[in-house]
Structures are given as structure tokens and as C-alpha cells.
Amino acid sequence: MNDYEIRLQLEPVRSFRAAAGETILDAAIRHGIDIAYSCRNGTCRTCIVQVIAGEVAQEEAESCMISAQELEMGRRLICMSTPRSDAVLAKIPPRQSKRTKPDESIGG
């Protein structure tokens, strides 16, 4: 069975191998990599990453808390993602806030 080289551009950068069909999170844990995760079901979004290179499949995407738009942008929840090739993954960069909407009032 194939396995793939996964490079996690977190702090610190770590590389490890994931078997085909194995979730990237399971592979990371198997290699003793310290990584934030929680639900292991694709619902808490703790492990969301940006795919920089390679092909990563979001398994059972319809039951995961990730939007079609995020998938389109190359984001994945690695607790429910499997590699289809070698891949490079990175943390999602913080946004420049553009918030202009009014807040709801507690007393209203």
C-alpha cells in the first residue's frame, strides 16, 4: 500500500509519512507529533489547515463542519482527511478584520 510524505508547516515544521487511507491526524499522532485536535469527527474545526501543495481528500465532507467554499479554497479538517499524494499543509493565516456589522443589543 502507498504512503505519502506530509509536511506540516506549523511551529515547528514537521514531516511524517501517512499511509493511503489513513487520516493525516492519525498519522501525525502515530508519529508522536504535538498537534491541536479534539473531536476526531470533523466537527470541532480545531485541526483545520490550508493545503499548500498536493491532493488531500476530505472524507465524509457532508458530515464535517467545513463549507463548500472552504473546501474550494483548499482547506481541510485533517482528522477526517486522507492524502492522495505527498502534501504540504499550513496553518490558516489570521485575517485582516473587515467587520462593520452592528451588534445585537442585550436590552433590546
Binding site: A36, R45, E70, P94, R99, D103
Partner: protein, 427 residues
Amino acid sequence: MSETVIVMGEPGKRTVEEASQWLKRLYWVERETMRTLGGYLVSVSNWELKKKIPRHMWQDSLRADALRTRILEMRYPRRDVDQGHHPLLKSYLSSLIKCRNDAELVSGVYFVTKKALYEAYEAYLQGADPLDDAPTVAFMKHFGPQLKEQLEEIAEIYGSLPEKSASGEWQSALEQYMNAIGGLMEATAPVEERELLLPSVLMRDDYTPPLVPARDPRFEKAHYHMPPRSYTKFIEHQVWQGINHVNEIWASEVPGLAMWRWNDMPWEFYLDSARWAYDEARHCMMGEERLKAWGFEAGVDYPVFGDHYASVSEQGELALLVLLHAFETGGPKWKSGLKQHFEAKGDTASSQDFDYDWADESIHLHYGHKWTLHRLGGDADDLEDYKAQLMECWNRWIEAANKRWDYEPFMGRIEHKIAELEAGRHE
């Protein structure tokens, strides 16, 4: 000649239509008493009552969910189950939150409404065909004992409430109202057919939740909850984390407030919020249990104060829920680290608490993302911006609070108790 009819067994007593109408009424009462408890939780001052209510809200949500699921199995249109409730029943239920203190909340919600619910379930079961309506009977037979337990638990707390002697007028008025709408067991007559002469005590202004959560008057005054300096040794880390856990009660008050303020959400929101509120109260009790075992008394040896809540409450309940979600977003990494660290140090009581807390936070992150996004119209970028904005509010708030107050008398008491523990003088 008339046709011969064989009458077999028990005569029919209740149609599917009658059963579904009755269950719909009971579902709505469960939903609204739960929302009342949620909305008033932030105003509850008695510490024992504050911790007890979220568990009851969760139980209420599960009973409501079982009823709602069953109603939809009984040829009942999904679009109607949350609508079309009788105006008098709605009016009665919306008056419950106009209570003015803990004792009135208890007397209205528990001693009048939940007592009537208990009687209604008993009556439903008495008239239910055990075969035809078996799926209802299967779950409803557990409702009576659960409500009885709630009533007994609350009666015990009620006995210690200082305002209990003055809650009689409120309770009598609600009992009168309940009778006027025909109780919970029958379909209420149209509103125009009744002349309701209700006691003036029910004509109160609408409830306004406080901007700073109520805390037990027996507690010492505090202005924030965490010690203003970092821990310098493991025993301090243990105590600091215990204090942090106890003060997670604010995170129970937030989903409670949201479920009351938002009356137009999908049913799953109320179900999730009740569970969320209960989990956070459990986390609070986890910390209190540990600190108590080490000789620390809540509100006396360490502060209990809703600082997170107070920091953004002027911005509304969505801001509160988004702030809570923002804090929980960093939770898994933090809580899993605490679990490992405390386990390695041999404090398995704390590490087990962190382990379960970490698991709870997984589902809370799901709830938080789903429902804040729902309120923000699905705009994920706006949610991320809002989280960052509110964390900035919190950071500014706590920085200012740290400058205003030196954490006394608590710091002195904590350091003294830690010295006692280190000297082996704790029993």
C-alpha cells in the same frame, strides 16, 4: 336490522390527533420552562441553585426532544410543531420569567409549572393504550420520576432561600393563571371566550437580564476571577486551574441567555444550548469539588465573578456567544496539555476533569461554530473577525481590571492555605 359489531378488548380512548395535540402542548411547556430557566440563570444568585438549574435544563431539553420527535411520528406536520400554540398558554409561560428573585423563579417554574407537568404526564399515561401508543409510553414513563427528582432537589434548595416567605403571592397568582387557562391537560378554550381577571402581580415589566451576572450574596466582593500573577509552583497551578474551572459558570449563563433571547431558532439550537449550559456547570462543579477537597471554599477563599461575561455583555448575547466560542477555539490544545501535565505530576483528579472537559469542548466548538454562523448569516469571515474583535475587548477589560484591584483578600487567603497544605496541616 342493525349490524352486529364485535367489541374487542378495551374501548378506544384517544385518537392519534388527540394524542399529538396533547404532546404538542407538553412539548411547548417543556421548551418554554427550559428557556425561562436559561434566561434567568444569569440573575440567579443562590450558588446551589445556579449550579443545579443547568442540569434540569438539559433534562428538560431531552424530554422536549422526545416529545417533539414523537409528535412528528403521529402524522403531525413538521411545519406546525413549533407553531400555533394557544395564546393563553404562551402568555402564561412567558410570564414565568417576570419573577423578581430566586424564590419566585422556583415557585413559578417548579412548584406550579413542573408540578402541573408531572400531573399531566401521569394523566397521559393513565389514558394511553400501552400497545397502540407504546412508543410514547416507553419514554414518558421515565418523565414522572425525573420531574419528581427535580422537584425534590429544588425544594431542598428553596428551604434555604431568604426570599421564600415573600414568594407566596407570585405562586398563587400563577396557580390562578394556570387554572384559568385550563391547566396543561386539556386544549384551552379560545381566548375570547374567557374573561381573565389576573392578579396585578402578573402585570410586571418585561425581564431585563443583568450586564454583570448575579453571584451569591454570601460571597466576598470580587472584580475578576483569576489570580493576577502567574503560578510559580505546581500546587499553585493546581489551585489556579481549580479557580478557572469554578468560574466557567459564566459559560453556562451565556447559552442560557441566548436560548431565552432567541425564540426563532431551529429546535436543535435549544437542544445544543441546554447541553452546553449543563456541561459548563459540570466543569464549574469539577473545579469546586477539587478545591473543596483541598480546603478552599467558593466565594470565600477564591473569587467567583463573571468577568468574561461582564466584559462584552453591553454588546449583546451574540457577542457573548461569540466570545465564548473564541475562548473554546483555543481550548483543545490547552486542555489536552493540562491533562498530560497534571497526569505526569500525579494529580489524576485534575487530569481526569481536564480530559472530560476537553471532550465536551469538541461538541461545544461544533455548537459554537454552527450557531454563531447561523446568527451571522453564514459569513465565516465575519465570525473570525468578530472573535478577534471580542478577544481584544476582553483583553482590554481584564488589563484595566487588574490595575484597579489587587485580588485581596483572596490572594492572602490562597497563599495561606497553600502554605498550610505544604506544611501538611490540611485535613
